[in-house]
């Protein structure tokens, strides 16, 4: 079982993840933009960048009323990003696979802070999802499954922190594989499409001469 999880299943899930994500992105890009006969009133590039920045903070009146999803959202995503790319075991792992000189892992205290932020943010966001009547209605099984698999991957990673028990590490790898297999077919794709969507909206608004 261990060799299957660390070998063929890992290769398969990585393949499904890469091909699935590429397929989804290409499919979106292939849709193209509708032809706009009007002459542009502003730069699409500048508008796209502005859209990326502007939509990273809630509009006045929305954020002030409920800061929890904003703060917890940033805590979770930034924490997870730091864990994924700067936790020492992940850096060693990526260093082996990716070309180039690699990069320095964050110190232990940085890891602890990132993990605390990520876990607290994820739990709070999910609780709000099920408690708030609107988000509860908007949420589908996909959202809960995505949150659950993300938590599972993070939690098993936390269990394997000591790095001395093969079983715990295999459990973590298995949880990550489940996440990779599910990723391209779920709302988790927002990790990639989020920036595309915001930039496209900002660019379109700028060409029309309106604020995004």
């Amino acid at each position: 079982m261990t060799s299957f999880i660390l070998g063929p299943l890992w290769t398969f899930s990585l393949l499904v993840f890469c091909l699935g994500v590429a397929w989804r992105i290409v499919a979106i890009l292939a849709l193209g933009f509708p032809r706009d006969p009007a002459s542009p009133r502003g730069s699409g590039l500048a508008g796209g960048l502005a859209g990326l920045l502007r939509r990273s903070w809630p509009r006045n009146g929305v954020g002030r009323k409920n800061l929890l999803p904003v703060i917890a959202g940033y805590a979770f995503h930034l924490g997870l990003f730091a864990l994924l790319f700067f936790a020492a075991p992940h850096v060693r792992f990526l260093d082996h696979y990716l070309p180039g000189p690699g990069w320095t892992p964050m110190p232990r205290w940085g890891f602890v802070i990132a993990a605390e932020l990520a876990f607290a943010g994820l739990i709070l966001l999910w609780l709000r999802r099920v408690m708030h009547p609107v988000t509860r209605l908007l949420s589908s099984l996909d959202d809960h499954l995505a949150a659950g698999l993300t938590f599972l991957a993070m939690f098993t990673g936390c269990l394997a922190l000591y790095e001395s028990f093969t079983g715990l590490r295999v459990l973590h790898v298995f949880a990550v594989e489940l996440l990779l297999l599910y990723f391209p077919f779920s709302h988790l794709m927002h990790a990639f499409t989020l920036f595309m969507g915001r930039a496209a909206t900002g660019a379109r608004a700028a060409r029309h001469g309106v604020g995004a």
Partner: protein, 360 residues
């Protein structure tokens, strides 16, 4: 497939530092006897530091200086009494060869805390089961007319469930660490339990500080309505409504208030002692760590035991209670039965204010 951490260093060496393990693994087994001989020689040659060295290192020189006629018994006695020497290892108490304190703490943990804790937890569970069998759940009276009263806002419920989920995770991992060797090792074997314990420890250490943050959210959301109010003792005198008599209460009755403040005080104590244990790198001495551990376990056992009662009353013990914490609203008849003063306050705040002021 390359896995950077796939070195098979043996789960049974889990407690040793990684560099030591690496050395052991890297050294061919034919040289292990050499290490053993070297270790024996070192042990035979080891003597407490000379007074000058002791003074330089700040150690207790008088206790271990060898007077003429010094016997082996004196030597070991002095070590047992905590005599210090010089060590190349830098750290708090690294010059102490033998620490009897550690054994005393271990015995206090294993022979006092653990068994008494087990009795406490088991006793509370049995009491609740007996109470349920004897009394059964507190049922709502009358028919549900569909009227609901808002009781907990979204933020209140999030704060509650955030704290509760962390508490559950910390309780389970903490109990694994305290009782796992006796309860889980026979089931999973020594290696299996070592892995479980390692996972439990890492999760416990990582989620602990988040619990402190959750406590702050909980306190900021609930403290105001948990302050003492007139009528609280009346609820107590009526047996909390569990034995037939009606017990009036505000938004939170005295039992809920007591639980809330217990969570605050013991929870903060747990968190602070947990932080001391979590961040031992700050140079706490052994006594501080032992004290922090003792308090941590004692407070945790009390909280877990009382939480059984809280969970019982919130779920199967009192009909309609869980609905308030899940959906935010309770049936009006539930509020009338268990929190009538709060209901009056909610429905006609002015009348309650007049009552409080003594007006007609």
């Amino acid at each position: 497939m390359y896995w950077p951490d796939a070195r098979n260093i043996g789960d049974s060496f889990a407690g040793l530092p990684r560099d030591v393990l690496s050395q052991m693994v890297l050294m061919p087994s034919r040289y292990h006897w050499l290490v053993a001989v070297f270790a024996l020689l070192l042990l035979a040659c080891w003597t407490p530091a000379a007074p000058a060295q002791q003074a330089a290192s700040g150690g207790d020189t008088a206790a271990i200086a060898r007077p003429p006629g010094h016997t082996s018994a004196d030597f070991w006695r002095s070590l047992k009494e905590g005599a210090t020497g010089v060590s190349s290892v830098r750290g708090v108490e690294s010059g102490v060869a033998m620490n009897r304190h550690g054994q005393e703490w271990r015995q206090a943990r294993n022979r006092l805390l653990a068994p008494w804790g087990a009795w406490l937890l088991g006793g509370v569970l049995l009491t609740l089961a007996g109470f349920y069998a004897f009394r059964g759940p507190v049922r709502l009276e009358g028919e549900d007319d569909g009227t609901t009263i808002p009781r907990f806002s979204i933020n209140h419920r999030i704060a509650h469930w955030f704290t509760a989920s962390l508490f559950l995770l910390l309780a389970v991992t903490g109990l694994v660490l305290l009782y796992g060797r006796g309860a889980l090792e026979p089931l999973f074997g020594a290696r299996g339990f070592a892995a479980i314990a390692s996972g439990a420890k890492e999760a416990h250490n990582l989620f602990g500080p988040i619990f402190l943050f959750a406590l702050v959210l909980l306190i900021s959301g609930y403290a105001r309505d948990n302050l003492p109010q007139r009528g609280d003792l009346g609820w107590l005198a009526a047996g909390g409504g569990l034995f037939g008599r009606h017990a009036s209460a505000w938004r939170f009755n005295l039992g809920e208030k007591a639980w809330f403040w217990l969570v605050c005080v013991l929870g903060l104590g747990l968190s602070l002692s947990g932080l001391v244990l979590d961040f031992a790198v700050f140079g706490w001495d052994r006594t501080t760590l032992e004290l922090a551990h003792f308090l941590h376990v004692a407070a945790a056992l009390i909280l877990v035991a009382v939480s059984f009662g809280h969970v019982y009353l919130g779920t199967v013990g009192v009909e309609g209670t869980l609905r308030g914490m899940l959906g935010g609203a309770v049936e009006r008849r539930w509020a009338a039965l268990h929190h009538d003063l709060w209901l009056r306050q909610t429905e006609s705040p002015a009348a309650v204010d007049d009552d409080a002021k003594g007006n007609d």
